[in-house]
Each structure stands twice: as structure tokens, then as C-alpha cells.
């Protein structure tokens, strides 16, 4: 699915990513854990093409298409979806309008017909009820005045509507109560199948109680220093990260 080779990136002349190699095959869920400032969120943003970061070397490809130089929207259309850690509010722009515009941009790219308002609404209603959200959610402005939980649910609603190839969850679990966490996990589990991939960036084990990862990576100072199975997560919960430092 996605192949990242020797990725180096910086912001304001400060190098954050110092040579990341990562490959997530279709059908797998990978987790990246690491301390604050280790570069986890930077990696998520660089995958999505955030132009605030300077790409110093390396490459990213999706299904053998090199997307290293691609614009943000073209990467998105190639199937990359970022669940934002802090989704930004866009006052006055309704969820329904925004989501349908996004969906239809993808459908157009895939050579499909655009979805009309009614079809879209029916489609969205099913997802909303699974996430425990009211239909009126679609009438609100994007993330405007949303609670922390609503913001993350809104991201999952968008994930399930757009149905991309790779979902990157940037600390989607932070700041959620148990119920919201379960809802988010339920959404991600509904999303994943043998043809797509998930990359979860997190600090905690708790989301992983609901979503079982295939591979766990530990990141320190801009590098992936250890990869393995769930036992790594347990070790980190117990011992922290200092054992990884040389």
C-alpha cells in the first residue's frame, strides 16, 4: 500500500524526521508510538503533504505511484486520509456541503458519477447512527463549536464516507472518554478490510484494546528504532521509552 523510504523532513530549518523507512501492506494495521516531539505527528503531516514541512530527502509511494512531489489534494485523491489531531473549524461551511464536495471530488477522480444530495444523505445517515450522531450533525458548520468527542467523530464520519485506501489516525484517541473512544474504534474497525491500511499514531494502549494492530513501531528522535508485535506496546506502557536510548 504505502512505502516510505529514508524520509527526512524539517520545519523552520529544524530537522524532525531523520530517515524513516516504513511499509504498510494492504490489509494491515500499523501503530507508531513515541514520546512527545519524537516526530510522529510530523510523519502523519508529511504523508498527507502538509507544505509547512520541508522534505529534505526520501520518497513516499502509494501502490507503486510515487507521490513524493504530489499536491495535498492529489495525494488525498490517491487514497490518503488524515484523521486530524486538531481538526480546524470552518465557520459557515456546513458539514453536509463540505462532506459531499469532498466525496464527489474523490468520485470524480475515480471516474464515478457524482452523488446527488439525496443519495449522499441516505448514505451519511447510516454512518451517523452507527457513530451515535444525530442527523442534525450534518447541518452544523465544520468543527465549529464541536466538543472534543464530536470533532473526532466527525473525522471518523468523513473517513467512512470517503473510504480511502490509507487512514492515518493522528492521536485520534487523545482526549476522548471511554464511550467516544469505543465509537471511534468501532468506526475504524468498520473501515478496515483486506484492501486498505491503517496507520495509528498514539501515546496510549487504550485504543489498541479495541483495534488490534499487526505491527507496532516505536519512534525516537525522528527515527523508527524498534518494530514488533503488541508486546512492544505492553513494554512501553510498563517501562516507557528510555530502554530504547543508546
Amino acid at each position: 500500500m504505502i512505502k516510505i523510504k529514508n524520509l527526512e523532513a524539517s520545519i523552520d530549518d529544524k530537522t524532525i524526521l531523520k530517515g524513516i523507512d516504513l511499509e504498510i501492506p494492504a490489509g494491515e494495521v500499523h501503530v507508531i508510538m513515541g514520546r512527545n516531539g519524537s516526530g510522529k505527528s510530523t510523519l502523519a503531516n508529511v504523508i498527507a503533504g502538509n507544505e509547512a514541512y520541508e522534505l529534505d530527502s526520501g520518497s513516499i509511494s502509494m501502490n507503486n505511484t510515487d507521490i513524493t512531489e504530489m499536491s495535498i489534494e492529489n495525494r488525498a485523491l490517491e487514497g490518503i486520509f488524515l484523521c486530524f489531531q486538531y481538526p480546524v473549524a470552518i465557520p459557515g461551511v456546513g458539514m453536509a456541503y463540505f462532506l459531499r464536495s469532498a466525496l464527489n471530488a474523490h468520485r470524480k477522480h475515480q471516474g464515478k458519477d457524482e452523488m446527488d444530495a439525496l443519495e449522499f444523505l441516505n448514505n451519511a445517515k447510516g454512518i451517523l447512527s452507527e457513530l451515535g450522531l444525530d442527523d442534525s450533525f450534518l447541518k452544523r458548520s465544520i468543527n465549529d463549536g464541536f466538543s472534543g468527542g464530536e470533532k473526532k467523530k466527525s473525522e471518523i464520519l468523513q473517513l467512512l464516507t470517503i473510504n480511502p485506501k490509507l487512514a492515518v489516525l493522528d492521536e485520534t484517541d487523545s482526549g476522548l472518554d471511554v464511550d467516544a473512544l469505543r465509537t471511534v474504534a468501532k468506526g475504524v474497525n468498520k473501515f478496515k478490510n483486506k484492501d486498505n491500511s491503517v496507520l495509528i499514531i498514539t501515546h496510549y494502549q487504550r485504543l489498541l484494546n479495541y483495534i488490534k494492530p499487526d505491527v507496532v513501531h516505536l519512534m525516537i528522535d525522528g527515527k523508527i528504532v524498534e518494530s514488533g508485535d503488541m508486546s512492544l506496546v505492553e513494554k512501553v506502557e510498563k517501562d516507557g521509552y528510555s530502554w530504547l536510548e543508546k
Binding site: E51, A76, V88, A102
Partner: protein
């Protein structure tokens, strides 16, 4: 990112103004210059009564002694008032039959998307078409007359309803109110007149479409709308002008009078030529607009979408004289290239329980400068007056500016005032968010800006809200990267 921003901004600036064509029409035009003789000549052409000529001359006397205001946050070369022509009109006379209108002029309005043919008009919208200094035609006059509604050009109203003109002209904006109002009072040539009788709800939208065509000509129109007790009217004006290298002056006056229980809703979509990207040419738009909520429970609501003009200087205001009367001002002002806008409102609370709302959205792109200037005055006897003001600005690029000057003067301690102001750049994070969802940059910008303007667009009559939205989209196309 910055380079890309600049590239796309530059691309926008190259965009052509869609309404910039000129119409070749046989016209009568005064030689440049302004003195008493010019005013007398103008008044004679219009066959005006002596009192009106005297009113004009008095205004002119005062104007000569006044000086151009300099307090606004705008910069421009001094205007040479003697170099302008104060009257330009297509040669043939105004006629109620469209067959008699110069086909060139009809074509002009067609090109502007304004059909003067009643059969082809949007249902429910009557139009008065003002071309340079005169009104060309007014549609649906007969239909409206059935309800006792008068909707005609100002010149006709002077002939047919002199008593109304005499009673109300200058009653809201005195002839010598300010420099530009005094000039307008001396030389105004035409405009629209509306009278809605007691208890009548005007069955269609009324609109005036202003077009400046002639060169070196000032357009000085005057609009007067009177809503008698318990009546309702929604009125819209639209404006365009050809692209010309020299600046053209537009100094209008609009007076509104709302009697007891009456409501006037006045919407403007102003898209005068804004000048080219070097700031050459464009309309100088110096306009005085004021409404008087004369009677109890009356309401006047101004909504404006200002995208054109090199300079915009206008402050549609409401005097809330009647008890429980309501004043509203909703504004979207866009400046790009080297456009300058200094616009806002004045809400004057005189009656008890009067309530005003001000919501403004300033959008600056390129090197545009956008100033909000608003005054709220609560007089001594205005018990329980309320004002809510919200002034938001959005900046696109890093060469533009947004400025806010609120003035508040409260003479009654029972007043309740709320003021909110925000200035933000169109967020890179908002754009990133939209782009990440597969939405293209242009679409993302128009989505964000339209969202920003939503509260104001919601105040526009439906068909014009769509027009305003499209206008903003065209104006800001490619304005960010």
C-alpha cells in the same frame, strides 16, 4: 508556499472585469464644468419646479464653501470637479415602450444579464434601469400601480408626485449633510423613486440597475423610498461600469423613510469597475445612504455586497426615531488589487427600546485595504436601546490590510451594547484541511470565504444571494495558494 501564493494571487489580478465593455450610443452630454448655469440648465431639461431649482442652488452654494472630507482611510489624487461633465444621456427620450429604447442600450442590459423585457424578467422583480444620468425604463409599473405602489424614475416622480418629493426630499439627508451629499443635491440627474401606500406589502422585489457608460461623467443619482404605515418593500440595486483608464466619480444619495410598522429592506450588489491591477481607473464611489425609522415599530435593514470600485466610501445608516424601531446593517466588502474601501454604518438610537444589529465581513486580497468604520449613538431618551456589532475581517495574502474603527457614544445608561471583532488570515490550516479531503484550492477558498460571509448572504433575497455568492467566487478565483 509563499511563492505559490504570489503566483496565484497574480493570476487573479489579471482576471478581466466581465462588465467592462462600453456602449456606443448617441448622447447628449454637457461640457465639463460646474457652475450655477449648469445646474439651471440641468433643472430646465428636467422641467423642474422653481423650488427644486432653488433647493439645488442652495446646496451648490453650501458645497462651494465645504471641503472634501479627509478623515477616511483612503488615498487618492484630488478630484477636479471642473473637469467632469454633469449630465450625459442617450439622445432619445424615455419611453414606456421598450420598442422605443435604443437597441444598443437594450443589448447593454442583456449583456449585463438584466432583461428589461417584462416577459423575460425573473418573476417577481421589477427594474428601473438608469443609464448614465437618466432612467431608461421601468418595468412592471402598471402591475405595481394596481396596488397603489409608485415605482418610477426620480425625474418622473418630480413631475407626477411633486408633493411627495417636496415633503421627503432631503428629509433624511439634508442637502448640506456632507460634501458629497451637497454635491449630489446640487447636480443629481435621476434615480429611482418608490412609494408604498399604507398597509401594502409590495408583491415583488423592486430594483434599480445603475450603469455608467459615458466618459468623464459623474453619476449622481438620488433614490428616495417611502414606506407608509404598515407597508413592506424589498429593494435591490446593482451597479456596473465600463473599464476606463481614468477614474469616474459616482456620488449618490439614498434616502429611506419608514413610517409606523413599516419595513424597508435595501440590498446592494455593487460591482463598479475597480481599476486595473496597477490601480489605474475605476470608480470613486462616494455614497451617502441613510434611512429614518420615523414611526414606531418600523424597521430598516441594509444589506450590501461591495466588490467593485477603486474607492468605496459609504456608510448606510439608520436613525431609529420611532419607539421599538429596528436598524440593521449587513455588509460584505471585498478589496483586491489596489482597491480601497472605507465602509460601515451609523446607528442612531433616539426612540425607546430601539435595537440595532451590525454584521460586517471584510475580505482583503492583493494589496486591497479594507476599513470598517461604524458608529453607534444612543441618545439620552433612548431607554433600553440595544446594539450588537460584529466586525470580522479575513486577509488573503500578506500585502493587504484590514482596519476597524468603531465609535460608540452612549448617553443613556440603560443601553446594552455588544461588540465583537475578529481579524484572521485565511488559514493555511483550513486550506490544508480542505485539500486533505480532496477539495481543490480554488474551491476551498470560495468555500471558506462563502462560509465567512454566510450570515450576510442569508439576508439577501434568494436570487441575489446566488448572484452574490458567484460574484465573490469570480472575484476571488485563484487568489490564494
Amino acid at each position: 508556499m509563499v511563492d505559490k501564493n504570489q503566483q496565484v494571487i497574480d493570476k487573479t489580478l489579471d482576471q478581466e472585469y466581465k462588465y467592462g465593455f462600453t456602449t456606443d450610443v448617441d448622447q447628449t452630454k454637457f461640457d465639463p464644468g460646474l457652475d450655477e448655469e449648469v445646474i439651471k440648465k440641468l433643472s430646465k431639461i428636467k422641467n423642474e419646479p422653481q423650488w427644486l431649482l432653488d433647493w439645488r442652488l442652495k446646496a451648490f452654494e453650501k458645497w462651494k464653501k465645504m471641503s472634501e472630507p479627509t478623515w477616511a482611510n483612503i488615498k487618492y489624487e484630488p478630484i477636479d470637479y471642473q473637469s467632469l461633465s454633469y449630465y450625459a444621456a442617450p439622445k432619445q427620450k424615455k419611453n414606456d415602450s421598450l420598442d422605443d429604447v435604443d437597441p444598443e442600450i437594450l443589448e447593454t442590459y442583456n449583456k449585463l444579464g438584466i432583461s428589461l423585457d417584462e416577459q423575460k424578467r425573473l418573476e417577481g422583480v421589477a427594474v428601473d434601469a438608469v443609464f448614465d444620468s437618466v432612467s431608461i425604463t421601468t418595468t412592471f409599473k402598471e402591475e405595481l400601480a394596481k396596488h397603489g405602489i409608485v415605482f418610477c424614475s426620480f425625474s418622473e416622480a418630480v413631475q407626477d408626485h411633486p408633493e411627495l418629493i417636496k415633503k421627503y426630499l432631503g428629509s433624511v439627508i439634508p442637502a448640506t449633510d456632507n460634501y458629497f451629499a451637497a454635491l449630489n443635491s446640487a447636480v443629481f440627474s435621476d434615480g429611482s423613486f418608490v412609494y408604498i401606500p399604507k398597509g401594502v406589502r409590495c408583491p415583488m422585489e423592486l430594483s434599480t440597475y445603475f450603469r455608467i457608460n459615458a466618459t468623464n461623467t459623474g453619476q449622481f443619482e438620488r433614490t428616495l423610498i417611502i414606506a407608509d404605515e404598515g407597508s413592506y418593500v424589498s429593494y435591490l440595486e446593482g451597479c456596473t461600469a465600463p473599464m476606463r483608464d481614468e477614474n469616474q466619480l459616482h456620488a449618490a444619495c439614498v434616502e429611506l423613510v419608514a413610517h409606523k410598522d413599516a419595513t424597508i429592506k435595501y440590498s446592494t450588489i455593487q460591482n463598479w469597475f475597480s481599476g486595473d491591477k496597477e490601480g489605474k481607473g475605476g470608480i470613486y464611489n462616494f455614497v451617502t445612504k441613510r434611512g429614518n425609522c420615523l414611526g414606531d415599530n418600523s424597521k430598516i435593514s441594509w444589506t450590501q455586497v461591495e466588490t467593485g470600485s477603486a474607492i468605496t466610501w459609504k456608510y448606510p445608516s439608520v436613525i431609529m426615531q420611532g419607539d421599538n424601531s429596528v436598524g440593521e446593517f449587513y455588509s460584505v466588502a471585498v478589496t483586491k488589487n489596489k482597491q480601497q474601501a472605507d465602509t460601515g454604518t451609523k446607528m442612531i438610537h433616539i426612540g425607546k427600546n430601539t435595537k440595532s444589529t451590525i454584521i460586517t465581513k471584510g475580505i482583503s486580497a492583493g494589496e486591497g485595504q479594507n476599513t470598517y468604520r461604524g458608529g453607534v449613538k444612543i441618545l439620552k431618551n433612548a431607554e433600553n436601546a440595544q446594539n450588537f456589532s460584529q466586525c470580522d475581517s479575513i486577509l488573503i495574502g500578506d500585502k493587504c490590510g484590514a482596519h476597524t474603527f468603531p465609535y460608540i457614544d452612549v448617553k443613556n445608561p440603560s443601553a446594552k451594547m455588544e461588540h465583537e471583532a475578529t481579524t484572521s488570515s485565511i488559514g493555511e490550516d483550513q486550506l490544508f484541511y480542505c485539500n486533505q479531503r480532496g477539495i481543490k484550492l480554488d474551491d476551498a477558498v470560495s468555500m471558506i470565504v462563502n462560509g465567512f460571509c454566510k450570515e450576510v448572504f442569508e439576508e439577501l433575497p434568494m436570487e441575489f444571494a446566488v448572484e452574490a455568492k458567484q460574484l465573490i467566487e469570480v472575484t476571488l478565483e485563484n487568489s490564494v495558494g
